[in-house]
């Protein structure tokens, strides 16, 4: 049954929408809005990690670029929510496009650590040298214009807007990974040298994927800014990279539904377990051990197998 869901894009979208609608109305719409935005971030990260086989320790840089792109546009230029979103996505894609030529040439540990280093640089620039525009440690408080029923100050509107955004990202990434381009990414993950020997310039495909992944993460960052009505340095903090890595591993890397499941599982643990356990991060550590040693394909991989 679960295999059928994954193989059918319509079922995937219905499944995703149903889960978040049920969760949203059973718990709290603002909280589930956070969940959905985080899932978009995990999908973007997993395009690089699960589908192309490159683990980044610095993807918060692109989430942050999106958040600050959106926030700075709304704060300094014009508080239109859609133009601000677009500015966030474009800034994230631009940062990925500029850093890509340097980063994509590396692989494995060098790729992971170079991304982390760039994330550290980005966080520092936002915090200190660029504080006039970014608000430094205090960040920026944001206000977005209303257009009739389009009102981002209403949590219900934000919930449905983020649900629509998540479904759009799920649909587009599913189309991408199921296309010949997606097959090429899988092949690069398996053996890049052999893909080159088929006549592909793998660098170009890795670079394009890096930009797409950065743009999706930036979209999640811009949505976060709109959802929270502020932008601050926690949205570019290198220390938070571990969250998205955990989520991708828990859900099942290399699967779009796995990314959604992992994002939801991580947010559930960090939001609800924290109520009962002060050191809830310890539980995450144990959970990670279980996933690494026994459930290597993640929750979604396990459910499909069962």
């Amino acid at each position: 049954m679960f295999g059928k869901v994954e193989n059918n894009p319509t079922l995937t979208l219905v499944f995703t929408a149903a889960i978040f609608l049920i969760f949203g109305y059973a718990t709290s719409l603002p909280k589930i809005t956070d969940f959905m935005i985080f899932c978009i971030f995990v999908i973007g990260f997993d395009l690089l990690y699960g589908h192309m086989g490159q683990l980044s320790f610095g993807h918060m840089l692109y989430l942050g670029a999106g958040a600050y792109g959106c926030g700075m546009f709304a704060y300094h230029v014009y508080p239109d929510p859609f133009l601000s979103l677009l500015a966030g996505v474009l800034l994230g894609a631009l940062v990925a496009a500029v850093l890509g030529p340097l980063v994509v040439k590396t692989s494995a540990a060098a790729f992971a650590l170079l991304n982390l280093a760039l994330n550290e640089v980005g966080a520092y620039l936002v915090l200190s040298p660029w504080h006039k525009w970014t608000g430094g440690e205090d960040g920026l408080s944001l206000f977005f214009k209303k257009y009739g029923f389009i009102n981002f100050q209403q949590s219900t509107f934000r919930f449905y807007f983020c649900l629509g955004s998540l479904l759009l990202v799920v649909y587009l990434v599913l189309r991408l990974v199921r296309s010949p381009y997606g097959n090429l990414l899988k092949a690069i993950k398996e053996n890049e040298v052999r893909v080159k020997f088929l006549g592909y310039n793998t660098y170009v495909y890795k670079y394009i994927t890096f930009i797409i992944s950065g743009a999706i993460a930036a979209f999640a960052g811009a949505l976060t800014s709109i959802n929270l009505s502020y932008t601050n340095t926690s949205l570019i903090s290198p220390a938070r990279n571990v969250e998205v890595i955990f989520a991708a591993l828990m859900g099942g890397a290399g699967s779009v539904i796995g990314a959604v499941v992992g994002g939801t599982a991580f947010m559930t643990i960090s939001n609800y377990l924290a109520v009962y356990l002060i050191r809830w991060e310890m539980f995450l550590g144990f959970a990670l051990l279980v996933f690494v040693f026994w459930i290597r394909k993640g929750i979604w991989g396990y459910v499909r197998k069962v």
Partner: protein, 230 residues
Amino acid sequence: MLLSVENLDVHYGPAQVLYGASLHLNEGELVCLVGRNGAGKTTLLRTIGGFMRPASGTITFRGDRIDGLLLENVALMGIRYVYQDKRVFGELTVRENIELAAYPTGESLDEAISKVLAIHPKMESLLDSKAKGLSGGERQILLIGRALIGNPQLLLVDEPTEGLAAIIIGDIIKILLKMKNKITMVVVEQNLATVARLADRLYVMKEGCVSREIVDEQTIKNPSCYEDEL
């Protein structure tokens, strides 16, 4: 002359593996490389394929130097490599493996599939199966079929029968014989009986050098004439 390899020196880190290896290849020939394990056969093949860069020496293909070219550019010149380890892209289906190989050559998927099915019609029932589920022989056939897509000028085949069941070896030899005279091939092979059936010419390799070239058909068909050198 299609391919000319002159005085290749190749190193793995500080260890030298090839010492001035030379060979040449004419259009339409099937040339075998034989030699003991560690003689440098696979290294020579991999260097021609562009996987390794020689420290010195030249590789000329249709009059153009190809040593030092990027791997993808060597492939686009029509040089194909069939790997010894029989590893295909396991997470992709057989059809997707073929599609991946067809795209850079500009050949249509239907045409590419028909080329693979022409050498092994039974592959049709496996087109939508994940390649990781194929047997060793089926993987080898898929690799050979994939190498025929586009307009291959030179096929480098590394130990095509190694580790396969006798019945599959027969199929692989039939496929290679079918391709003979249509496409130029260099085949690394340990099994001298197979070499005797396939080769137009052969090179014996010893300790990183090409120690002997055998062109006489009767000698090639009689492995006892050269097996002492291996």
